[in-house]
Structure formats: C-alpha cells, structure tokens
Symmetry: C2
Subunit: 406 residues, 2 copies
C-alpha cells in the first residue's frame, strides 16, 4: 500500500454505489412533505394524522415515567425481550380478552408503532410480485411498507359499509393474494367503518380460502357516534392478525403498539423484528403498562371521544356552510379523518398550492390509491386543529374551492 489516506486525490463517490434493486421503486412518503407544510407559520393544517395535542395525558405520563424509573430502576433502562416487556404483554392480553378477543400473553408481540406491525406482516408474507388485497383507497403508510417488498395490488372498492365482498372474492380467486389488509374501523383515509354484516362476510371468505386478514385497527376505541361493532379479530379468531396501537389513545411519540395473532405467525414476526430493531423501547413500554394498570387510560379515552366527536361535527357543519354543494364527503362515526370528493373534473393536487397560499392545508387523495388515481379526492384530519382553527380553516378552504369551480 503506497497510497495513504492523506492522499486525498481519490475520494469516495456515493453516487456510484450500487443500491438494492427494490430501492429504486421506493418513493418518499408525502407524509414528510405534509409535516413540512404543517410547520409553516400561520398554516392551518388538516393534512397530518396527528392526535389533538391539547388532549395528551401529559401529567399522567410524566408521573408514569417517574414511577417506573423509581420502581424498576435499571431494568426500565436495560435491554428487554424482542416479544416485549412481559408485564405489558399480560396487561394487553387481559385488556383484549375483556374487549371480546380471547387472548393470551403469547399472542401479543409489542411493536415500535403499528407501522412496524404492517412492515412485519409485509416482510413475513411477501415475495416480490406477490399480490395482496387492500381497500381502494388505503392507508398511505401501508403502501410504503408494501412497496418495499414490491407487492402487486389487488385493491377492492368500498361503499359506506366497507369493502365490497363480491369483488373481494373475485380478487382472491384471480390473484391468490398473500393477505387482505384492511383498516376496518374509521378507515384512514376515508373514515368509513365496515358494517357488522360486511365484517362477517369478509371473515367467512378469508376462512374459506385460508387467506389471513391483517386488521389495522388504530382508531377502534375512538367511536363517538353509532353502535360498537365487533372487530374482525373478535369475529374471525386465528384468521386475523390484528394491529393495535397506543398512538391514538395515548401518545404516538412513545412508539408503542402491538400485534395480536396466532403464536406460529408471531414466531416469524419475532425473528424479523430481532434483525430489524431488536426490541421496542423498554421505558415507554413500562410507562404504557402503568397507564393501563392505573385505569387512567379508560377515562382518557372517554374524554378523547367527546373532543373528537365535537371537532368532527363542527367540521361537518362548517363544510355544509362553506363548501360547494356539488361536493360530497363522508360522515364518520369515529377516528380522525373524513374524505371529500370534488367534481370529477377537478384536481385536489393542483388546488393544494392555492390552499397553501390561503394558509390552509389538506392531503390530496392520489397517494392513497396504489395506482395513484383519485385526483379529485382529498383527506381532512379533524383531531389536530383547535375548534377555532377548524372554523377558520374550512372557511379558507371553501373560498379556494368556490374560486376554482370549473
């Protein structure tokens, strides 16, 4: 070796590095763009999927942090098991069982947000070119995880009761999908919640063809209108891999969620998670465990439901007043989102810059469709903005739309 590092004539060239072929297909999420927009001063953002900041149980979580560090000392800060902290897995198994899903701690795997649960399912099942079934439109973050594994999509359209099951059965026969991905309650992005009859039919078809259902259920506890409906997991048992999270009912920054599934599939998820991030945060798992066992979580959820229900109703009332009557939109009974259709000839992506000029933001619909169609649709989040900003923001949006009618 006559050359030395000091000889800087030869330097690194990252542009010449040869990346994995699946990387070429990956697009950055519009979420990143959304969060940038949201943070511009003066912009009222209905774009992100952020919970109401004024509702976070700040003092309760501060006390929980103090308590678990005082009580668990070094073990609150030490490495822990890939499957999750045993006390939290036990608390969750009990909670799920109380909610109608017969669950043992061995059925629970703690994940770093439900995004990781989606990623684990995708990584466990999908070889490049395999089909999966999603709703049409579906959660944009799930599309990110699925695209990483180079899936092909066999999307199924929805009506106000959820996935159209005849189309579902046709797609299963035609495409032999690895799994069915559904946000069954108060769907992101549409706010639609699947009816009980539709859920039963979905489970029956899944069992008939032995196709697992990945039920992504982050919003189920936030029902502020209508009657409770059993989850797919409750109805379908082992055919369902169910994803739950504390992001919406406690705080997303703690990154604690869970998978409830048959032990055999969790063994596979566990092996993938070991290589992905070893285990989820020990401290915040213990904090959530404390929040559950203290019983404070249920009071908190009741308060959230009242707040989100009022915000949703206010947004709908203001939309009635301010939006062109030719537009249509969903009327959710829970969750964080509603979904709006412009006239067929209008483009929600082209109107977004005009909205931002008026200091208001939404997410246009195309990224929620695996084939990027649906450009006349957009999603509104009603949980994050204040009551005052909902009124003002919808007024601004109404002006943008009225000024740009074809």
């Amino acid at each position: 070796m006559s050359r030395t590092v000091a000889d800087k004539k030869i330097t690194a060239n990252p542009a010449g590095w040869n990346l994995a072929s699946h990387v070429a297909d990956l697009e950055a999420s519009i979420i990143r763009e959304i969060l940038k927009i949201s943070s511009q001063p003066g912009v009222i953002s209905f774009a992100g999927g952020l919970p109401a900041p004024e509702m976070f149980p700040i003092e309760e979580l501060k006390s929980a942090a103090e308590k678990v560090i005082d009580e668990s000392q070094s073990s609150a800060l030490q490495y822990s098991l890939t499957m999750g902290v045993p006390a939290l897995r036990e608390a969750l198994a009990q909670r799920e069982t109380e909610q109608g899903i017969d669950t043992k701690p061995d059925n629970i795997l703690i994940t770093s947000g439900s995004q990781q649960g989606i990623s684990l399912a995708s990584n466990a099942f999908v070889d490049p070119g395999d089909y999966i079934i999603t709703e049409y439109p579906t959660y944009v973050g799930a599309i990110l995880s699925f695209n990483f594994n180079r899936v092909k999509y066999a999307p199924v359209e929805m009506d106000n009761d959820g996935m159209l099951v005849d189309q579902l059965e046709d797609n299963i026969k035609k495409y032999k999908p690895k799994f069915i991905y559904t946000v069954s309650s108060f769907q992101n992005p549409t706010g639609i919640s699947m009816s009980l009859e539709r859920r039963k039919a979905l489970v029956d078809i899944a069992i008939k063809y032995n196709v697992p259902i990945v039920e992504d259920n982050p919003y189920k506890d936030i029902r502020f209108a209508g009657e409770d409906v059993a989850s797919l997991k409750e109805l379908g048992g082992d055919i369902v891999i169910s994803l739950g999270t504390f992001s919406k009912i406690c705080a997303p920054g703690l990154r604690i969620a869970w998978v409830n599934a048959h032990e055999s599939i969790l063994r596979t998820f566990e092996k993938i998670k070991q290589g992905a991030d070893m285990h989820s945060n020990t401290l915040t798992q213990l904090m959530i465990n404390e929040f559950i066992r203290s019983g404070k979580i249920d009071d908190h959820i009741e308060k959230l439901k009242v707040n989100y229900g009022k915000k949703c109703q206010l947004m709908l009332d203001e939309m009635d007043k301010q939006f062109p009557s030719e537009f249509t939109w969903t009327h959710p009974e829970g969750g964080l989102f509603l979904w709006c259709e412009l006239l067929e000839s209008m483009s929600a992506s082209e109107l977004l810059p005009k909205a931002i000029e008026k200091k208001v933001a939404y997410v246009y619909g195309a990224p929620f469709f695996p084939d990027k169609k649906g450009d006349n649709t957009f999603r509104l989040n009603f949980s994050n903005a204040s009551f005052e900003n909902i009124v003002e923001g919808i007024k601004r949006l109404g002006e943008v739309f009225k000024d740009n009618m074809p």
Copy 2:
C-alpha cells in the same frame, strides 16, 4: 353468502399460510436463548451483551424525562420527523465534529438502536445473493439482519490488529461486495480493535474500489487502556457509513442510536425507515438530547471506563488463575467483551450445558461465524456481572473446563 361466522366448522389454518421465501432461511437468534438463560435464578451470566446495571445514570435520566415533558409538553409525546428530532441531530453533529468527524445535522439520521442502522444498510444495498464483507467472526445481530436480505458472505480473517487487508482486497476483487461491515473498535465478539495503520489501509482499499464501509462503532467511547485511534469515519469521510449508539454509553432500553453518512445515502435510509417504523421514540430522543447538552454524558462515560476497565482486568486475572494454560484469549483495551479459544478438539457448544449445570453461562462462538464454524471458541461479557460474580463465575467456568479436558 349463506354461511355465517357462527358456523365454526371451517376455521383458520395458519400452518397453511404461504410465507415469503426469505423467511424460511431465518433462524431465531441465540440472543433469545441467552436472555432466557441469564434470567434463571442463581446463574452468573457472561453471555449477554448487557451494560452494567449499577452504572445506569438513573437519576439523571429521570430528571431528563421530567424536564423535557415540562418544557416540550405535547411535542415530547407527538409524532416527529423520520430523520429524528432536530435538536438531537444538531447536538450529535456538534459532538461528532468535536470528535474529529466533520458533520452537519443533515448527515445524521436517528435510528431505533444500531440494530436498525445495520438493518437499513442491509435493506438499502443487498439484493438476494449479493456479497458483503464481514469480519470472521462478526456480530451475531448483524448476521440476523443480513440473512433477512439473503446475503452471501465474503468474510475476512483478523489478527490482533483487525481485518487482514490483503485478504480484504482479494475478496473485493473476487466477490464485488455491496459493502464492508466492520466493528472497528473493541469488536463484538472478539474485543479486537483495529490498529491505525490497518484502518488507513482499509479506507484506502474501500476508496480505490468505491465500496462503502459500514462502521458499527458502539464501543468506541469505552476505551480503558491504550491510546485513542481515529475512527474509520474520521479517516475515510464519505466512504464510511458510521453507526453510533447511546445503548452502551447511556442506556439501551431507550433505543436511540444514529447513522452518520453522506446525505444521498441517508435519503434512501429515510425512505426505508418511513415504511419500517415511521420515526424513533420522540420522548427518549429528547431525554438523550438533554443528557448530552447538560454535559453529564461525558462525566458518565469517564465513570464507565473506570468500571469496565476494572471488571475486564479482574476477569483476565481470574482467567489466568482458573483456566487451563493451553487456552488463549484476547486482552481488550475497551468495550464489553473478550474472546477465548479452547483446544482445537473441544466444543464450546457441548460444554455450555455443563457450565449451566454449574450455574454459569457464556455464548459459544459458532453463531458469530457466518458459516457456523469456530466451535472451539466462546465469548465472555465482562460489563454486566458484579465484581464478586466475575470472580465466582470464572472459578466455576475454570472447573468446567478442567473437568472436561480431552
């Protein structure tokens, strides 16, 4: 649909689900087994890679949790950016720059433990069947991540100065690897630290062939003997993707680590991370930021070095007294591990059950070799056990070995 869910004659059959083909190759980590063994009552474990529990900065981290919740309120609990919390990225860029690596915040991506950094590198570069270069033996957790992407290994042997660079260059020419993975300082599992000359030669070769180096550097701050040596990142600049972590110098349960790399490759890592877990823990990122900015981290590292240096020396002294003189072992100048070779004809995996009978545990060496060879080697961790248990545990191990000499 005439059948209903109540008709339970047809049920789910998870055993019939068709998993991704890469899943068939995945083996569970022995880490899981290790942690089970460690937790059996009365067993003195030198098996895990756990930091000293008595050294965790418990009160400092409790104060940090209180302070960041008081000051940041809801933003300590809210969703945050995939790249990481800006304040922590700035603190890290400054800290890296002070340590000789010219770094801007845009060069920093926060990860959920360094395990995620390894996983991101593997996912970004490796198509099934691609070669990568590792040390021989190498970190078992890295093998987990790499196997997920179905790599082929072109391992390079080490002497006491680290990777043999002639073998490295031969392997690069022959296998055209996607990257070179190295634990450059106080390697896991061997405790070997690469010499300055060897580092310079490695960087030169990497630049010559434009093969990126993934420098996994979790132990670099824990040098308790010998002189500081520049990191590969300091020597090589953009050719190096460097992984740092707070797991060993603060607390692993907080799951906060970072990648320091050229911006172009971080864009790819960011896209993969969005789909993997969206972002790392907001609260514990802010806690670590507070721990750095208060200056307490440097005092803490000084105390750790003294503690780990004493424990390592004690273990070496006791091994001199208790182990058969035919065995050889490394004499690390830092880190958490040392590495021992039995006689060629002996099997560390066959002796482990006998050790556990005597209530002492280690990790046998085979899982650290991509080809599972090296069955006459094992790894000892000296950071986790108390001084008293190091003396007692090495005595027990010495008895096991003396009783089982061929």
